[in-house]
C-alpha cells in the first residue's frame, strides 16, 4: 500500500513517514502543497495524508484540485478542531479527518480502513480459499496455520488480494509497494511472487505473461 504524506513540519513528516513505513506502507513525502498536489496527480496512491495548513498551496486547495482528476482516499490532518473545518474538509471531498495531536495507531488504523473501503471490502479479513489475510493485523494463515511473510511479500499479497479478480500490472505493483526510498528492480517482483507461491500454494497467483498477475 502506498501513501502520500503531505506535511510542512519537517519533524512530523519524518516521524509519520517512518511510522507508516514500519507499518508496511510505502511512503512518498511532500513538504508543501504544490509538491503534494503534483505527486498526488501524477501517481495512483492508495491514500493521501494531507495537512491543511501548508505553505504555497493549502490543504483545501490541494484537495479541491486533486478531486478534479483523482478519487484517491484523503485523510485530512489539521491542528484546528472546529466543526466547521471538519465539515468543510468532508464537503470538499476528504474521506476522513484527524485532529492534531493524534495517536499514531489511530492514524494507521484509519488509513487501512480508508483503503479497504476504497477497494470495496470494508472487512479487514480477506479469504482466498484456504488462505486468510487479516489486513488489520497484517497476518496471513493457510489452513489455519500462520505463514511468515516479509513486508514486501505481504504488501504484494495484500495488493493482489484487494484487487481480487482484476489484473494487477507490474507498473501497479511498483507504484503500490515501492516508496521513493526503495530501489525498484523489476526481477525482484518475480522473486516475491515465487516466494508467495512456495508459502501459500502454486495455484493462488496466476501469471498473465507480459501483463501482470491476478488472484481469482
Amino acid at each position: 500500500m502506498k501513501i502520500l504524506l503531505v506535511e510542512d513540519e519537517e519533524d512530523l513528516l519524518q516521524v509519520i513517514g517512518t511510522a507508516l513505513r514500519e507499518s508496511g506502507f510505502s511512503v512518498d513525502l511532500a513538504a508543501d502543497g504544490e509538491t503534494g498536489l503534483a505527486k498526488g496527480e501524477s501517481e495512483d496512491y492508495d491514500a493521501i495524508v494531507l495537512d491543511i495548513m501548508l505553505p504555497r498551496l493549502d490543504g483545501w486547495a490541494v484537495l479541491s484540485e486533486l478531486r478534479k482528476t483523482k478519487t484517491t482516499p484523503v485523510l485530512l490532518l489539521t491542528a484546528r478542531d472546529a466543526v466547521t473545518d471538519r465539515v468543510e474538509g468532508l464537503n470538499r471531498g476528504a474521506d476522513d479527518y484527524l485532529t492534531k495531536p493524534f495517536d499514531l495507531d489511530e492514524l494507521i488504523a484509519r488509513l487501512r480502513a480508508l483503503i479497504r473501503r476504497s477497494v470495496g471490502s470494508p472487512s479487514p479479513i480477506v479469504t482466498l480459499g484456504t488462505v486468510e489475510i487479516d489486513t488489520a493485523a497484517r497476518t496471513v494463515t493457510k489452513d489455519g496455520q500462520p505463514v511468515e511473510l516479509s513486508a514486501k511479500e505481504y504488501a504484494l499479497l495484500e495488493l493482489l488480494a484487494l484487487h481480487r479478480g482484476r489484473l494487477v500490472t507490474r507498473t501497479m505493483i511498483y507504484e503500490h509497494i515501492y516508496g521513493e526510498e526503495d530501489d525498484t528492480l523489476s526481477n525482484v517482483v518475480d522473486v516475491y511472487v515465487s516466494n508467495l507461491r512456495r508459502k501459500l500454494g502454486g495455484e493462488l497467483i496466476e501469471t498473465r505473461r507480459g501483463q501482470g498477475y491476478i488472484i481469482r
Partner: protein, 487 residues
C-alpha cells in the same frame, strides 16, 4: 374678576390667577408624585410617557386659551351692560331736583319712565336713597334692594348694578338682569369645552400615532441589538428607512457591532492560531514517542527521537512564553519598570549576545550607536533589540550584513535595524506585527520562531509611547525603525 382665595391655610387655584403659588398644596404634592412616576417609567412605556407630557402641555394651552376667550368675552359683555347702566344712572341723577342741601325730589322724563317700565326677566330697574339711606323712589314697588355702602358697579344675583352719588346726598342705583349674557356665556363655555375636548382628543390620537411611528425604529434597533451575541455577531440594524437622528444612532450601534465583531474575529483567529502553534509540536512529541516505543531501538535512534522531542518542546516553550507575555500585556498586568539609562550600551549588549548567531550564519553585524539617555524598561528594551536584530540575522543571506544604528532625531531616540536579507513582500508588510503571522512559515518554524516576536516587540515599543515602522524590498532587505521618546 379673578382672585386667589386663602382659606384655612390652603391655596386654591382660581381661573385667571396664574401666579398663584400652589407648590405646597396637596394637589401638587400628588401631581409631583405622578410626574416622578412618569419620569421613572421603564423604557417600554416611553410612548405613554411622551403622550402624557404632550397631553399635559396641550391641556394647559387649551385651558389657557379657553379661559382667556371666556373671560374676555364676559368682560366685554359686562362692560357693555355696565356702560348702559352708568348712562342710565347719570341720566337718573340728572332728574333729581335738589330742594335743599339735604332734600330733593325726582322727576323722570317720559322716555325714562318708559325705559324702566319694561317687563321681562332682565328688565332694568332703579332705586334712589337719600343721605340718611331712606328709600326715596324705586322703579318697581316690589324691589328689595339692599342699600349699597358706596357707589360702584357689581354683580348681584343674576344682574349687574351700578350706583352713583347724586345731588343733595342722594344715592342712585340702576340695575339690570344679565340672564341673556349668562346664557351667551354658557353657550360659549359649552363651545369651548366641546371644541377643546375634540381638539385634545384628536391631537392626542395623532400624537399617539406619531410617537408610535417615531419610536418604531427604536424597537427595531433594540430587536436587532438583542439578536447580536457572541455567537452571532453578523446581525445589523437596517438603517435604510430610518429618520436622521435614529439613523445616526443605528449607524453608531452598527459600527460598534463591526468593531466588536472585528475584535471577536481577531480573538477567534488568535485562539485558533495559538491552538495550532501548540498542537503541531505536541503531535510531533506524541508521534515520535509512539513510534519510538513501538519496539526496541538503537541508541542513535533513541538520540534522534529525543532530539526531535526536545526541539518540539522548546518550540512549545517559546510559544507559551510569548503567549504569556502578550496575555499579561493585554490585561495590563505587565507593567514596565522604567529607569533612566543610556540606550547605546544597552543596544550594544543585546547585539553582543547575538554575535555567535551572526557568526554561525555568516552575517556581519555592524553598529553605529550615539549615546541617548531615555526612560525605558531595561529588560523589555533588551528584548526588543534582541528580537529585531535576531530576525535581521536569521532572515539574512549567507554573507549578508545587519546594521544597527542609534541616533537622536527631534529629541527622540531613533533605532534602525537594517538587513540585507530576503525581504518581505509588500502585501505582507501590514500583517507582520500580527500574532502568529509568518511571512515564510516553513522557514520561520525551521528557525524556531514562535510567531509572536514582532507582536511582542510592537507592544514593547508602544508601551514606551514609541512607534515602530518597517520598510522592505524583496531580495534587498528589510529595515525596522523604532522611535522612542525620552520617556
Amino acid at each position: 374678576m379673578t382672585k386667589g382665595v386663602r382659606e384655612s391655610g390652603r391655596h386654591y387655584l382660581v381661573i385667571g390667577h396664574w401666579s398663584l403659588d400652589i407648590r405646597h398644596s396637596d394637589l401638587f404634592r400628588h401631581s409631583d408624585f405622578v410626574i416622578r412616576a412618569f419620569l421613572t417609567m421603564p423604557f417600554g412605556s416611553l410612548r405613554l410617557k411622551l403622550l402624557i407630557w404632550y397631553a399635559a402641555a396641550l391641556l394647559a394651552v387649551t385651558a389657557a386659551f379657553g379661559s382667556l376667550l371666556y373671560l374676555d368675552f364676559r368682560r366685554s359683555l359686562y362692560d357693555e351692560v355696565d356702560g348702559r347702566l352708568s348712562r342710565q344712572a347719570t341720566a337718573l341723577a340728572g332728574s333729581i331736583q335738589p330742594e335743599s342741601e339735604r332734600s330733593f325730589y325726582v322727576e323722570l322724563a317720559a322716555e325714562q319712565v318708559a325705559y324702566f317700565d319694561q317687563d321681562g326677566e332682565s328688565a332694568p330697574y332703579y332705586a334712589i336713597w337719600d343721605r340718611a339711606g331712606q328709600l326715596v323712589d324705586q322703579s318697581h314697588p316690589a324691589l328689595a334692594i339692599p342699600v349699597p355702602a358706596a357707589p360702584g358697579a357689581w354683580q348681584r344675583g343674576d344682574g349687574r348694578e351700578h350706583a352713583l352719588q347724586g345731588p343733595a346726598g342722594s344715592l342712585v342705583l340702576v340695575g339690570q338682569g344679565t340672564h341673556e349674557e349668562s346664557r351667551r356665556l354658557a353657550r360659549l363655555l359649552a363651545i369651548i369645552l366641546v371644541v377643546g375636548s375634540a381638539v385634545l382628543v384628536l391631537t392626542l390620537a395623532a400624537g399617539w400615532f406619531l410617537t408610535g411611528r417615531a419610536l418604531a425604529p427604536i424597537k427595531r434597533i433594540s430587536e436587532a441589538a438583542a439578536t447580536v451575541s457572541a455567537s452571532n455577531l453578523a446581525a445589523r440594524i437596517d438603517v435604510a428607512e430610518m429618520e436622521t437622528e435614529l439613523g445616526e444612532l443605528a449607524t453608531t450601534i452598527n459600527s460598534t457591532f463591526d468593531r466588536l465583531q472585528g475584535a471577536f474575529d481577531q480573538q477567534t483567529q488568535f485562539t485558533a492560531d495559538a491552538s495550532h502553534e501548540l498542537r503541531t509540536p505536541l503531535s510531533i512529541v506524541l508521534a515520535q514517542a509512539d513510534l519510538t516505543l513501538k519496539r526496541v531501538r538503537s541508541v542513535p535512534e533513541y538520540r534522534d527521537a529525543l532530539e526531535t522531542i526536545r526541539r518540539s518542546a522548546r518550540r512549545m516553550k517559546s510559544v507559551v512564553e510569548g503567549l504569556l507575555v502578550l496575555a499579561r500585556a493585554d490585561t495590563g498586568a505587565l507593567a514596565l519598570v522604567k529607569e533612566e539609562m543610556d540606550l547605546a550600551p544597552a543596544v550594544d549588549d543585546a547585539c553582543r549576545l547575538l554575535t555567535p548567531l551572526a557568526a554561525e550564519r555568516g552575517v556581519q553585524l555592524e553598529m553605529r550607536l550615539e549615546p541617548f539617555s531615555a526612560w525605558v524598561d531595561r529588560e523589555r528594551f533588551a528584548e526588543l533589540v534582541a528580537n529585531l536584530v535576531g530576525n535581521a540575522i536569521r532572515y539574512n543571506r549567507e554573507g549578508g550584513r545587519v546594521e544597527v544604528r542609534l541616533r537622536r532625531q527631534n529629541g527622540e531616540a531613533l533605532l534602525e535595524v537594517a538587513d540585507t536579507g530576503i525581504g518581505i513582500p509588500e502585501d505582507e508588510l501590514p500583517h507582520i506585527f500580527e500574532r502568529f503571522y509568518r511571512v515564510d512559515k516553513a522557514r520561520s518554524r525551521a528557525l524556531g520562531g514562535s510567531g509572536l516576536g514582532l507582536a511582542i516587540t510592537k507592544w514593547v515599543v508602544e508601551a514606551h509611547g514609541g512607534k515602530i515602522t518597517v520598510a522592505s524590498k524583496v531580495g534587498a532587505g528589510t529595515t525596522f525603525v523604532v522611535v522612542l521618546p525620552r520617556g
